[in-house]
């Protein structure tokens, strides 16, 4: 199919809520191929969500194996209607996003997640993802709800505050 242009904010599509996929129409099939082509074409891209290429479907593609430091992962996956069923623990990465170039921010995410999704044949699957892969999936699922990492930033600066004195 095609390598698509990754939309950048303030494109309004990035703030929309994407629709659940109920059947694999030709357009859904094309979107899946485009997502993978676009992700594979950028050397550093480890994940992409359909709204980033202008399609408001609840579909993400991830490939944590592209991060050499990540050893615990499920490789390349297309996840349709992904949903986090359970989460535990917290960790913080400094995240950037192809749709918000030249800016990074510290974001807290769950360390381990139980995710339910459907594969390309709409078979339901459930997996545990941890650490880098878990953060990646959470970041991409956020795109399906119009949430950008800026919405989740804790502080651009190191958090260090004097405690208020209460008289």
């Amino acid at each position: 199919m095609a390598i698509k242009e990754v939309l950048t904010y303030p494109n309004p599509l990035l703030k929309e809520i994407s629709e659940e996929v109920k059947e694999v129409t030709p357009d859904v099939k094309d979107t899946i191929i485009d997502l993978i082509d676009t992700m594979d074409s950028t050397g550093h891209s480890v994940g992409i969500a359909a709204p980033q290429i202008g399609k408001l479907y609840r579909i993400i593609a991830v490939d944590a194996s592209k991060n050499k430091k990540c050893t615990n992962h499920h490789g390349k996956m297309v996840m349709i209607n992904p949903e986090i069923l359970k989460w535990e623990g917290m960790l913080q990465f400094r995240e950037g996003c192809m749709s918000l170039p030249d800016y990074t921010g510290n974001v807290n995410r769950a360390r381990k997640i139980l995710v339910q999704y459907q594969d390309e044949k709409l078979n339901t699957k459930v997996i545990y993802a941890e650490e880098f892969e878990a953060v990646l999936i959470q970041h991409e699922i956020d795109h399906l709800d119009g949430v950008l990492f800026i919405d989740r930033i804790i502080s651009k600066r190191t958090d260090l505050f004097r405690r208020k004195k209460y008289k």
């Binding site: 950037g96 990074t104 970041h139």
Partner: protein
């Protein structure tokens, strides 16, 4: 379109309305805020802004724009024209360094001197005195960029300096990922 850049700093006893006042003048005079950082230091509100304008102004002209505001809010102002916007050097890794312990003179200087000798760049630095008045606790948090090729022994050397100062130190790498 060539832009002219200026660094402006404002310091004043904290009260509501300072940001609104400063940014109103900038907006009305056609300045664009390129980058800024403001924080409260011991009850003093401190603003640093990099602003741009298509016209060129003298330092005096810019200060004159803020004459009334400075009187009204008891603001002190300084202006510095910036000739060239420096490009950021490519660094390899980013670390957060926390140094904390009993307050004594020289903590910031000794840590900063070491980092400077190693060509490690400080991109953010915050210090606070906390704890009780008779037992002040000094806290310093730095974000540093380490040049490519520097081996990790700098962390051990820094730990040694911290031990000499009688402070505790924690160094952790910040992983940045573009998703």
């Amino acid at each position: 379109m060539k832009k002219n850049y200026y660094a402006l700093t404002f310091v004043s006893v904290d009260k509501p309305g300072i940001v609104a006042e400063v940014t109103r003048i900038l907006y009305e005079k056609g300045f664009n805020i390129e980058d800024s950082s403001s924080t409260l230091l011991r009850g003093f509100f401190s603003m640093i802004l990099i602003v741009s304008h298509e016209k060129s102004f003298s330092i005096e002209e810019i200060i004159a724009h803020f004459d009334d505001s400075c009187k009204k809010y008891d603001l002190s102002i300084s202006v510095k024209p910036i000739d060239n916007m420096s490009s950021t050097t490519k660094y390899d890794k980013t670390y957060i360094v926390s140094v904390y312990g009993s307050d004594k003179p020289g903590i910031v200087y000794k840590v900063a001197k070491f980092l400077s000798e190693k060509k490690i760049n400080i991109v953010d630095l915050q210090t606070k005195v906390a704890g009780k008045e008779d037992k002040p606790l000094y806290i310093m948090v730095l974000e540093v960029n380490v040049p490519s090729g520097l081996d990790e022994s700098w962390m051990l050397s820094l730990k040694k300096i911290s031990d000499e100062l009688g402070t505790d130190i924690n160094v952790r790498q910040i992983e940045t990922y573009e998703f």
